[in-house]
């Protein structure tokens, strides 16, 4: 089990705020959508606190 950030694409405003604070460079604003790279994400939850929309959450994944 590991903790990872996930984005709710219906809530995300594609602003890139989470990209600016990710210490692992796991988030990327690709053209106009957010991509979270699981191999880099450490599940630290910094992006969750940053998100103006509440579009990010930390979940347990296999």
């Amino acid at each position: 089990m590991a903790r990872k950030a996930v984005v709710d694409r219906r809530k995300c405003a594609y602003c890139g705020a989470c990209v600016a604070v990710c210490p692992a460079d796991a988030n990327e604003l690709v053209e106009t959508f957010l991509e979270i790279y699981d191999d880099k994400c450490t599940g630290c939850s910094i992006c969750v606190k940053m998100c103006p929309m509440g579009a990010l959450a930390i979940v347990e994944v296999e």
């Binding site: 890139g16 106009t32 910094i46 940053m50 103006p52």
Partner: protein, 387 residues
């Protein structure tokens, strides 16, 4: 091979591309979005002086002109700053969608190539130049350039990969949300700022008029202090203030409140605007510094091409230029911001009460702090030499 590739067609990037192209350089301006100038991620306010330094003002990209600002303490004490003479508009609220395109168009007209819906995927410095991998509509290709200007915003890939900036901590960035509202009943001659920990912890809420009963109504909060999302704080603010209007646009974003970075350059690379954390740490305003930084980066790029020297030590000339222009203000306002976020609502009310009704003719952060220093020297003792 290009002389300059600029990544990001906001005010900093387009200004850099325009300036470099005007100096006769071979310039490419790349924007990952399919439309320049949208979404705005910005409250769009700028002082008249900052915009007129670089542009002939065109009504097409001015949404509103304001004569002053009204600042509200948590207990509603009002501080008014304004030029008393009619016709002395001190600030503009831009229509960034049009303004950003205008600056990009000027860059194109000066000779820069412009690619939209084109992302920079990666870059690598090799043999004294930069190889960039670009992607458009799924297709990737490589270009080479002598200089890479990173105007790729607060989430700058270039700045991090080049090791120029470090990732922002949650007390160095504002989490922001904003509605464009219409049908509002407000005096459109002023911009409005609302302070208070409960309203906007570590930041403020704003109303910036955009003409015809419309305004940007937004909020910035410091994530380290916030207990809910920026959007929730914004909705609470609108409810509490009884702001009635219809929402016709919504934007979110991050504003760096870092202060001055030590350097904005590396070999072959310069950063400008939000990518270099150039936004003002107290007001969050970023357009003015972005335009100046872009201009200086374009100028230094031309000198570097002429001297055929793209080393970080040569590009430090760019650091000197932007630091001389606004670096000191970034440092000073960062100190002020740290002081400000420490103030609880009682202190804010006390300070506002001390200068309410004073005639603040000059619309600037310094003007307020100078008055506050007169009224409450002890509270702001450690700032006294800065203002």
């Amino acid at each position: 091979m290009y002389d300059v590739v600029v990544v990001g067609a906001g005010p900093a990037g387009s200004m850099a591309a325009k300036t470099a192209a005007e100096q006769g350089l071979n310039v490419l301006l790349v924007e990952k979005r399919q439309e320049i100038g949208t979404p705005v991620r910005c409250a769009e306010g700028i002082s008249r002086e900052s915009i007129e330094k670089f542009f002939e003002v065109d009504k097409k990209w001015i949404a509103a002109e304001v004569i002053g600002a009204k600042i509200y303490a948590p207990d509603k004490t009002e501080i008014v700053m304004s030029e008393e003479m009619a016709g002395n508009e001190v600030g503009y609220v831009l229509e960034r969608k049009i303004f950003d395109r205008h600056v990009a168009r000027l860059a194109a007209r000066a000779g820069a190539e412009v690619y939209v819906k084109t992302a920079m995927v990666d870059f690598e410095r090799r043999d004294g130049k930069v190889k960039l991998k670009l992607r458009r509509l799924g297709e990737e290709w490589e270009v080479e350039t002598k200089i890479l200007i990173g105007a790729d915003g607060v989430e700058s890939k270039i700045g991090r990969k080049a090791g120029i900036i470090r990732t922002l901590k949650l007390n160095e960035v504002e989490s922001c949300a904003q509605y464009l509202m219409t049908g509002l009943d407000i005096d459109e001659n002023y911009t409005y700022f609302y302070l208070g920990r409960e309203t906007a912890p570590g930041g403020y809420a704003w109303i910036f008029p955009k003409g015809n009963g419309s305004a940007n109504v937004g909020i910035g909060v410091l994530p380290r202090m916030a207990e809910k999302t920026a959007k929730e704080y914004l909705d609470a603010f609108i409810e509490k203030e009884g702001i009635e209007g219809k929402i016709i646009e919504f934007v979110a974003g991050a504003v760096p409140v870092y202060g001055e970075i030590e350097t904005a350059v590396a070999d072959n690379i310069m950063l400008a605007g939000d990518a270099a954390y150039h936004a003002d740490p107290i007001t969050g305003g970023g357009i003015a510094n972005a335009l100046s930084a872009g201009y200086y980066a374009g100028k230094v790029a031309a000198e570097a091409v002429q001297k055929n020297d793209f080393s970080a030590s040569f590009l430090r000339r760019y650091d000197e230029l932007w630091k001389n222009d606004f670096g000191k203000r970034l440092r000073r306002n960062k100190k002020l911001q740290l002081k400000f976020i420490d103030m609880d609502d009682a202190v804010l009310n006390k300070l506002a009460g001390a200068i309410a009704g004073k005639n603040l003719r000059e619309m600037s952060v310094a003007a307020i702090v100078k008055e506050l220093l007169k009224a409450h020297p002890k509270l702001l003792w450690d700032l006294k030499d800065l203002f």
